[in-house]
């Protein structure tokens, strides 16, 4: 009872403090770390220290105005801080014998071998490089959130081999991350990755008496999943209802058929024929072409007849390029886009169950950034992250706040917390001893049931509407999308995957990183735990005999107890937003005190176990 009273009074005082919080006031250590957990690939001690005592809006200003690798993509393939540039750099270093992977190779020559299976892992390494090391954390976090809305994946042939298409596509997301959604849609719709993934590439008009029809795949998903969704929405994200109280569909099948006609005539640029894709031909690192207009004026792959969709009439005689512009303008003008995109982003950055007021505040900024511009993603993201529902940790009732974190973001958080470094894979046929470090995580999908740009289908890794079979959530109509891949055998596999990475990939282990292990597809990720070991040892005066010392300090702690206390404080900063729950502290302390810490290795094992426990805890898996 006494304990409960204290808890309540603390909560009350916190509530008072937080009600004064605004985006311009200074953040404390917890708030700083919490913002970084929402908006980056994981808070680190350094980034949290930097942010502490500055403001959330100040941090955003810095992120938005940072010099970016994406400011100028004129030498895209040479720019190592982009996905494609990093991929090409890795390929050029690791396969110097192959001209197709040389940095001098043209877009058309690059990867014209098309059969290099390991390249998909190198492309993932390029993604890891950006996510784990880039200063541009918010840009990449936004690009990653967008990649789960505008989904493409290596799951569609031949993209598993043509991963440069995936790298290039990612760069389009990152380039437009703080730009305008309309520009992003244009880049996405005409990208080879999307063209292949949703078969817009090669879709052609019905010809003569043939009953063949234009492909409806992209025509449908560009509406259902990328812009307006299935039903008419109010600006607060709630569905509009007709006079009978029914939902109002945003489009009918006939709209899709006519949009499919409108979108016919696009092809990956290649020198052979319209729509042809494969491992060894076609250019995947530039936009698709309007074939009739740009490649062959005698061809008629585009259906240029008059058509009507979504209440818009398109006159006859327009090119595929002109019709693409018209379509995307029409979709962008739809009232649904703002609540649709806003809710997706809120769910990915802040909370699974935003209030309708929160959605409306953000959607209103999407609709008008203050200068009359619709679709400004920078302004939208600022509105999302500076909203009181994002910044105030007590803005919601207990249980309705926050979200379950994606397994992948749990992983990057852990990796960044312990100074993750790539490993030199000396697979080079020339046997050169010095190679650039790689973040190789061959088994990421097996561990996590997800990996960036590797979704099985266009419907992403989890549904935004998933509600678990639990009375609290069903009764309160709450969704927990990420829970779909955080339970059952997938959860166990994820816990074991973390264990493998914690144990095998650290600087101090005797793990063999040499070329002998390269061919066996071992993950090459190494975290640095030696500072924690050193911290522990120094508290023992670098003398393990002191484990048994009963001499106590001012707080009544023996050297071993003091070392354990400091270790737990460090782990709290690293993994618990500097806010480890009291019961965790007690449990970990009790556990570690029973451990024998008689040498470096035993200390390391204890540290591994502690990190395994913390990353398998409900507190770690939840973002509040």
């Amino acid at each position: 009872m006494f304990h409960r009273l204290i808890t309540l009074s603390i909560l009350l005082s916190m509530a008072t403090a937080c009600s004064d919080s605004s985006s311009n006031s200074d953040l404390d250590a917890y708030e700083a770390s919490r913002l970084l957990t929402q908006a980056t690939f994981g808070s680190t001690k350094e980034t949290a220290n930097d942010l502490e005592s500055s403001s959330a809006s100040g941090w955003l200003d810095k992120q938005f105005s940072m010099d970016s690798a994406y400011d100028d993509l004129s030498e895209h393939h040479l720019n190592q801080e982009t996905n494609l540039g990093q991929l090409r750099y890795i390929m050029s270093v690791y396969s110097p014998e192959n001209d197709a992977y040389s940095l001098n190779a043209s877009d058309e020559e690059f990867n014209n071998e098309g059969t290099y299976g390991v390249m998909r892992f190198y492309q993932m390494a390029a993604t890891y490089h950006l996510f784990l090391t880039s200063e541009e954390q918010l840009r990449h976090r936004m690009a990653y959130a967008l990649s789960q809305l505008l989904v493409v994946s290596t799951s569609e042939t031949p993209l598993s081999r043509r991963v440069e298409a995936i790298a290039y596509y990612y760069d389009l997301l990152a380039k437009n991350a703080f730009g305008n959604y309309r520009d992003l849609l244009q880049d996405v719709a005409t990208s080879p990755a999307m063209g292949v993934f949703l078969s817009l590439n090669g879709s052609q008009a019905s010809v003569g008496s043939s009953s063949t029809k234009p492909d409806e795949n992209f025509a449908r998903e560009v509406m259902q999943l990328f812009t307006i969704g299935l039903v008419e929405l109010n600006v607060d994200g709630s569905p509009k209802l007709n006079d009978d109280g029914d939902l109002i569909p945003t489009y009918e099948q006939i709209d899709i058929e006519n949009i499919a006609r409108s979108l016919s005539g696009w092809s990956v640029d290649n020198s052979s024929r319209f729509g042809r894709v494969g491992n060894t031909f076609g250019i995947y690192t530039k936009a698709m072409v309007d074939w009739d207009l740009e490649k062959d004026e005698s061809s008629e792959y585009h259906d240029s007849g008059a058509k009507t969709y979504l209440g818009t009439t398109v006159s006859a005689g327009l090119s595929a390029t002109e019709e693409m512009t018209l379509l995307l303008d029409t979709l962008m003008a739809h009232e649904n886009v703002a609540p649709f995109v806003s809710k997706h982003l809120i769910q990915h950055f802040v909370t699974s169950n935003p209030s309708s007021e929160y959605i409306e505040r953000v959607a209103s900024v999407f609709n008008d950034n203050g200068d009359g511009e619709k679709g400004d993603l920078e302004a939208t993201l600022r509105a999302i992250l500076l909203d009181d529902e994002a910044r105030n940790a007590n803005a919601y009732e207990e249980g309705q706040a926050g979200k379950v974190r994606e397994p992948f973001l749990q992983l990057t958080d852990m990796l960044r917390s312990f100074n993750i470094q790539g490993v030199s894979d000396s697979k080079n046929v020339l046997g050169e001893p010095i190679m650039p470090p790689l973040f190789l995580n061959y088994r990421i999908e097996g561990y996590l049931s997800q990996a960036p740009l590797r979704s099985e289908t266009v419907f992403n890794f989890f549904s935004p509407n998933y509600t678990p079979s639990d009375e609290y959530f069903t009764e309160n109509n709450l969704v927990l999308p990420e829970m779909e891949i955080n339970q059952g055998q997938k959860l166990v596999t994820q816990i074991n995957g973390f264990r493998t990475i914690i144990r095998s990939g650290n600087l101090d282990s005797d793990y063999d990183y040499s070329c002998e292990t390269c061919g066996t597809y071992n993950d090459l990720l190494k975290m640095e735990f030696s500072p924690l070991v050193e911290l522990f040892k120094s508290e023992l005066g670098d003398d393990y005999e002191n484990n048994n010392s009963t001499e106590v300090d001012d707080e009544g702690l023996t050297p071993k107890q003091r070392a354990i206390k400091l270790l737990i404080e460090e782990l709290s900063v690293s993994l618990m937003n500097n806010n480890m729950p009291e019961d965790y502290v007690t449990l970990l302390t009790d556990y570690l005190e029973t451990n024998t810490m008689g040498n470096d290795y035993q200390i390391k094992i204890a540290i591994w176990h502690s990190i395994q426990l913390l990353t398998s805890s409900n507190e770690f898996k939840i973002l509040k």
Binding site: L247, N477, Q489, K490, V492, R499, N618
Partner: protein, 511 residues
């Protein structure tokens, strides 16, 4: 307080009328559950993406020779598929088998032409000699043709999501209700699983049964619902949970069998009123505990089979290399290991005298808008091999009469092709297998497939179904042991399909 999504909808419809409907229903169904003395199970195979069932089961009747098949036969089929039609080439199953082992020495892969997927895809079909089924089976699926001819399996023709029987004129006039968001993958897949084609919000129909039978599973690590593909709506109930597993041996969380495991449990146990943290904690504790127990039971008994697969290998063998299938692309090896695991799990469920179970498995990759003739073969091949092995396994385990296996898919695909694939449509053909079903026949109707014809909801051959999924699922659930009185709660549209006063007149004729 709102009780559930299903009740929420009911309540809103009833305008505040308070009906403790579900409580009385639960009481009656518990009686039904306990009367089950015999383990029974349903295997629900989802062919994710929308299977082009017109390439799997080819309408093969000659229209000019028999006016009964006008707009329903081979001529119409092939005229609408310029470059992805299966050839009108009748293959004999008998010439390829010796006691139904594919004769590999004679280069006997029936689908082999020149070692490409495309040529195998369109080579021809097996006619179903022992029946009058007006479909032929794609040459990539000799095992399916064999199973149908042997009476182990039947074809469900023109099944789809329907709220009530509907004609083309009624679709166009909007004078009858049909499912919302037709042709959208996720929602059509979902309403198959809610058991209410007009309702995307309901729990799954199997989740409803699990809620009814919750008491029968309360002291067990086993559940009524078992998924090998994530968290399908099919298994979502209000209060009952289901097992979410992966193929193969259930894997335990390493390092947690001793003191460390106790700390893990304590960390994830909280007495505070924090619903999200409590829920996540329970999920973690559950994963640790139940997988340890499951793993113990699993490893203690492993079924072995004397039967061989069609290649003469052990059942459920997977072919990483394409040498044996002679297809360009390797099999996904997704359904084969799932069904092997399901068979093993069934032996555990039976040994615990569970009243019944449903298993959800998936084969992904069916959304062939393009390159259909190179991508569809590997999926048809795996489906064929997997069902063949599963049938053999069920027989050896003595479970064949207690298990029904059924395929479903998001929707059928257009009878009219696009450049080199097909688009989303409505009705489709499915397969149903089991020792107690009526085998070797076509259940349902053969529809017109003519573009713009009497059964086309629009202009590209999006065929209006003539049998609803609920008409198939309801007799299955009834067979599992749920009384007819409960069926209209589980399948609210079922009564729309009655042909007489009896509810069972709505049942598709599967038993």
């Amino acid at each position: 307080m709102i009780k559930s999504r299903r009740d929420f909808l009911k309540t809103s419809l009833a305008l505040g009328l308070i009906a403790p409907f579900k409580l009385s229903a639960t009481a009656s169904a518990i009686a039904a559950a306990t009367s089950n003395t015999n383990y029974k199970a349903v295997v629900f195979i989802s062919l994710v993406g929308g299977n082009d069932s017109l390439s799997m089961l080819i309408p093969n009747k000659d229209e000019s020779a028999d006016s009964n098949f006008e707009e329903k036969g081979y001529d119409t089929y092939s005229s609408q598929r310029d470059n992805i039609a299966v050839a009108n080439n009748v293959l004999s199953l008998n010439s390829y088998k010796t006691g139904f082992n594919l004769d590999l020495d004679l280069h006997g892969n029936p689908y082999h032409v020149d070692g490409t997927s495309d040529s195998a895809f369109s080579k021809g079909y097996f006619s179903l000699d022992n029946s009058d089924i007006p479909y032929g089976v794609n040459s990539l699926m000799p095992e399916i043709a064999h199973l149908i001819n042997e009476g182990e399996m039947s074809v469900l023709s023109n099944i789809g999501n329907l709220v009530e029987p509907i004609t083309k004129a009624q679709v166009q006039a909007g004078s009858k209700e049909y499912p919302p968001f037709l042709f959208a993958h996720n929602l059509q897949r979902r309403v198959i699983q809610t058991g209410a084609a007009g309702d995307i919000y309901s729990n799954g129909w199997a989740g409803y049964v699990a809620d009814l039978w919750e008491d029968s599973f309360s002291d067990s690590i086993y559940e009524f619902g078992v998924s090998y593909a994530g968290t399908p709506r099919l298994l979502a109930g209000d209060k009952s949970s289901f097992l979410s597993l992966s193929s193969g041996e259930p894997i335990v969380a390493n390092d947690y069998d001793g003191a460390l495991g106790d700390v893990l449990i304590d960390m994830n146990t909280t007495s505070e009123d924090k619903p999200l943290r409590n829920f996540m904690g329970n999920i973690i504790i559950n994963a640790k505990n139940s997988f340890e127990e499951l793993n113990n039971e699993w490893t203690a008994s492993t079924p072995t089979y004397e039967s061989l697969d069609p290649y003469g290998n052990k059942l459920f063998s997977t072919y990483v290399e394409s040498t044996e299938t002679e297809l360009d692309i390797s099999l996904r090896n997704e359904l084969l290991p799932q069904l092997e695991t399901v068979a093993h799990m069934m032996t555990l469920g039976k040994s615990h005298s569970l009243p019944g179970q449903i298993f959800y498995v998936e084969l992904n990759g069916f959304d062939h808008h393009s390159a259909a003739s190179s991508k569809h073969p590997q999926l048809m091949r795996e489906l064929s091999l997997a069902l063949y092995s599963f049938n053999k396994a069920m027989k050896e385990l003595g479970l064949n009469d207690d298990v029904v296996t059924i395929t479903t898919t998001d929707f059928g695909r257009t009878a009219v092709q696009n450049s080199d694939g097909t688009d989303h449509a409505w009705g489709a053909q499915q397969l149903i297998m089991g020792g107690c079903i009526q085998g070797g026949k076509m259940i349902g109707e053969l529809p017109s497939i003519l573009s713009g014809g009497e059964s086309d909801s629009g202009t590209s051959g999006r065929i209006i179904p003539t049998t609803s999924y609920e008409q198939v699922f309801a007799p299955l659930v009834n067979w599992l042991g749920v009384g007819e009185g409960e069926l209209t709660n589980i399948f609210p549209n079922l009564e729309n399909f009655k042909s007489s006063d009896s509810l069972s007149s709505a049942f598709a004729d599967i038993f």
